[in-house]
């Protein structure tokens, strides 16, 4: 009965989504207040229904109710509790339900926190959210019903893919979906603006917190996925330019561009038409990502079940939404008034440059991702586009952008002074030069690009700090007054600083870990010792161990530094009997920002084991940098002028004014 309740709630939600798609939008077009006001309660009810349905599916997993096909296919009674919960979205049907749950969650949040948005815009935004919700609910109900039953319930389930039995599954997909789906709100705002034919600076102010929120989640989701792949797959790699990774990276790039163009729109009313286009583009890429990952056109650990019918269904949704919104854009965008004027060298100019490079980089990733699919569809020729392609296209497009990051925030609006900005960056440039020289001095010509990369990373970090300090005028007015000015700066200033600083941190991690990594592959026998970047590792043997739903062979290594024993490492090979599938569990030791990484290979009959060991200097900076960026994003959201739904002391009149900077 409980399972049927979940199914019924989902059907009911679909009907409500249809109502939400039509009634509020009709109300907005005909200026009927009562119709518009239905939007918020319906959005909340939708959330309650989908949440109920999701809770029911979770219950079926917890109770190991194998009469439900989805649970039988993807769960096992001996599976640890946490994987029973995260296993709910570790399969196609459940993950689509999570997708929709997050979609309606955002709908409900818009309903709750957009009291200051004019009624017609708010109603239309929720209406557009309703279209997306209805489409994906129909998809779930028609092709991917998670509540389907088996007449004769089996006693035991098939277990979850062992690669997914990891804490990563509990974190990575929800974060990533919060990011992907969060951009549906900016999309809805863009489409609503086109429908209503009106757009102004206030629009950007309402949209930016949502874009920031989605961007923060997407950043964390991608970073988490990268770290998960790094420790779980046992190859020591953290980014593979795999189409599935690209699918999440493209909305991130476009979303980053959107964040920046929305600033121009909010402050200067310029780039309106472009911002709307970017909002549509970003969510289109999110949808494309969903299609690529869920349709089975790509084979990867993310593609759970290959079913052509599902692929076709998502493709149709994709075409309707992307095609429809771009058609609407072509038709209505000319109605939107063009905004302010600015010199090429100005804050606006810098942000346009940022957008140009980010968009070009997005396109290069898009081409690299779709070209193999297109080529195979047209000629049948099978190719793979891998890291060399992206290093050659994405890399060069990023370098000018990264070089320019510190200049942007130092340029004034309308007409900037490049010379003055440069003067304020002398110190940052000096620090970067010193860092590059230090790397060159330590490693010499062995790694030619490393000093340049490190210099660039330090340049971005130092530039971010320099920009913040120059806003306090600390060198002119003294330390104490400067500090009090620092405290008084708007939070968005700190957000910008941390966002850019984080980019530098990540870049530093990438450069150091790539250029100075030590890798070693060898066959060891018990008692063998080998050297790894100043650490001596002794392999002492391998022993079996029993886990809750797997058995494993655990290798043991003693790590010594200068004769003293400092740690032990226990990499293992697991076998999950339910699927007869082996996995490799790497053992990772963190020293400061650097990591020692050991994974096991094949065991020989004579007790020898293949071992792969890495020392990756400063690699954790890659993920710590994304954390810094995300914190920057969160601080920006809490900025007074963007604070979502905060009660305003005095209403109105503030929309057109921006704080003096």
């Amino acid at each position: 009965m409980i399972v049927e309740t979940g199914h019924f709630a989902l059907v009911l939600a679909f009907v409500l989504a249809l109502i939400q798609s039509v009634v509020p939008v009709w109300g907005a077009v005909t200026s009927d207040r009562r119709l518009m006001e239905t939007a918020a309660p319906v959005a909340n009810a939708l959330f309650v229904l989908v949440a109920l349905s999701f809770a029911v599916l979770t219950w079926a997993y917890l109770a190991s109710d194998f009469s439900v096909v989805n649970v039988w296919e993807n769960s096992h009674s001996a599976k640890p509790l946490i994987f029973k919960i995260s296993g709910v979205w570790g399969n196609h049907e459940g993950s689509m339900l999570l997708w929709v749950l997050i979609l309606v969650l955002f709908g409900s949040l818009v309903a709750l926190f957009s009291g200051n948005v004019p009624a017609p815009l708010r109603a239309t935004v929720l209406g557009v959210q309703g279209w997306i919700t209805a489409a994906f609910l129909l998809f779930i109900l028609a092709t991917s019903n998670p509540f389907e039953r088996i007449p004769q319930a089996p006693i035991e389930g098939n277990d979850l893919n062992p690669l997914l039995q990891d804490i990563g599954l509990a974190i990575h997909p929800p974060l990533l979906y919060l990011g992907y789906v969060g951009f549906s709100i900016t999309f809805a705002f863009a489409v609503a603006a086109l429908i209503l034919g009106r757009i102004d600076a206030a629009w950007a102010r309402w949209v930016r917190p949502w874009a920031l929120l989605a961007w923060v989640f997407l950043t964390l989701g991608i970073a988490m996925g990268s770290y998960w792949a790094y420790y779980e797959l046992g190859w020591g790699g953290w980014w593979f330019w795999d189409p599935v990774e690209n699918a999440s990276f493209m909305p991130w790039l476009a979303g980053t561009a959107l964040l920046h163009s929305a600033i121009v729109m909010e402050k200067r009313e310029a780039l309106k038409v472009w911002t709307v286009l970017l909002a549509i583009f970003t969510f289109s890429l999110s949808l494309l990502g969903t299609f690529l990952v869920r349709s089975g056109v790509l084979t990867s650990v993310h593609a759970f079940a290959v079913d052509p019918e599902r692929g076709l269904f998502i493709l149709v949704i994709l075409c309707i939404f992307i095609g429809g919104s771009f058609t609407l854009y072509a038709w209505r965008a000319p109605l939107l008034k063009q905004g302010g004027l600015f010199a090429p060298i100005s804050r606006e100019g810098a942000l346009v440059l940022n957008n140009l490079f980010l968009t070009a980089a997005t396109v290069s990733v898009l081409v690299g991702t779709l070209y193999p699919l297109a080529l195979e569809a047209v000629t049948g020729e099978k190719i793979s586009v891998g890291a060399p392609f992206f290093n050659l296209t994405f890399g060069p497009l990023m370098i000018p952008l990264l070089l320019a990051i510190p200049f942007g925030p130092l340029l004034a609006w309308k007409r900037g002074d490049l010379l003055a900005a440069t003067q304020r960056l002398y110190a940052a440039f000096g620090v970067a030069l010193l860092a590059a020289l230090a790397v060159f001095w330590a490693w010499g010509m062995r790694q030619v690009l490393a000093p340049i990369g490190v210099g660039l990373a330090v340049w971005i970090m130092a530039g971010a700090v320099a920009e913040l300090l120059s806003r306090t005028r600390i060198t002119e007015i003294g330390l104490s007054r400067g500090l009090s000015r620092l405290v008084g700066l708007p939070r968005s200033a700190f957000g910008t600083m941390l966002g850019h600083f984080g980019v530098g941190v990540t870049l530093l991690g990438i450069v150091m870990a790539t250029a100075f990594q030590t890798e070693l592959v060898r066959t060891v026998r018990p008692g063998d010792t080998f050297d790894m970047a100043g650490y001596q590792l002794t392999f002492t043997g391998i022993a079996p161990r029993q886990g809750p739903n797997y058995t494993e062979q655990v290798g043991h290594l003693v790590v010594r530094q200068g004769g003293a024993e400092i740690a032990a490492m226990d990499p293992s090979k697991r076998i999950y009997p339910a699927r007869g599938m082996p996995t490799t569990e790497a053992s990772i030791l963190t020293f400061g920002f650097s990591q020692l990484y050991v994974s096991l290979g094949e065991t020989r009959d004579d007790g020898a084991v293949d071992i792969r060991a890495y020392f990756k200097p400063m690699i954790t900076l890659i993920w710590l940098g994304t954390l810094v960026m995300s914190i920057g994003g969160i601080i920006s959201i809490t900025d007074r002028r963007l604070r979502v739904g905060a009660p305003k002391p005095a209403r109105a009149k503030t929309a057109g004014l921006s704080p003096a900077e």
């Binding site: 893919n161 690669l163 046992g234 084979t299 990867s300 650990v301 004027l341 600015f342 010199a343 090429p344 100019g349 346009v352 440059l353 140009l356 490079f357 070009a360 980089a361 396109v363 290069s364 081409v367 690299g368 070209y371 193999p372 020729e381 099978k382 190719i383 793979s384 586009v385 891998g386 060399p388 392609f389 050659l392 296209t393 060069p396 497009l397 592959v521 060898r522 066959t523 090979k573 699927r579 007869g580 599938m581 082996p582 996995t583 490799t584 994974s599 096991l600 290979g601 094949e602 020989r604 020898a608 293949d610 071992i611 792969r612």
Partner: protein, 149 residues
Amino acid sequence: MTRKQRRLTLIGIAAVVLASAAGLILYALNDQIVFFQTPTDVVAKQIPAGQRIRLGGLVEDGSVQRSDDAKVSFRVTDTANTVAVTYVGILPDLFREGQGVVTEGIVGPDGIFRADSVLAKHDENYVPKEVADALKAQGVWKGDGASAQ
């Protein structure tokens, strides 16, 4: 500057950036992509030594030989032809004789394929799509997925 000049400057910069992006992409698509080949392709097309390809097929039964320092050699077959492969490193968990595999690397002057990466299946039901298609073309494909184990 007048409005027109400003606009032209912007458009000019945009054109330069986009043109260089397009140029990079086209160049990279010519140079940096790797074609998927079956053992039969390797034999029939006389792929020159040093060219980078992806070689896919089944790991021939009884062909896997390990030596010290994690060196492995095996043969990849599509049942019509076979290619000998050497690889140094740790093989994926699901690498097994008789199972599908995709390797990337270059053909050596001695005709032995030197792989620098070996990809096997992501789970027990999955056979790399290229391999599945190639096997279907050879008529030795045995059912979809589930029976592969």
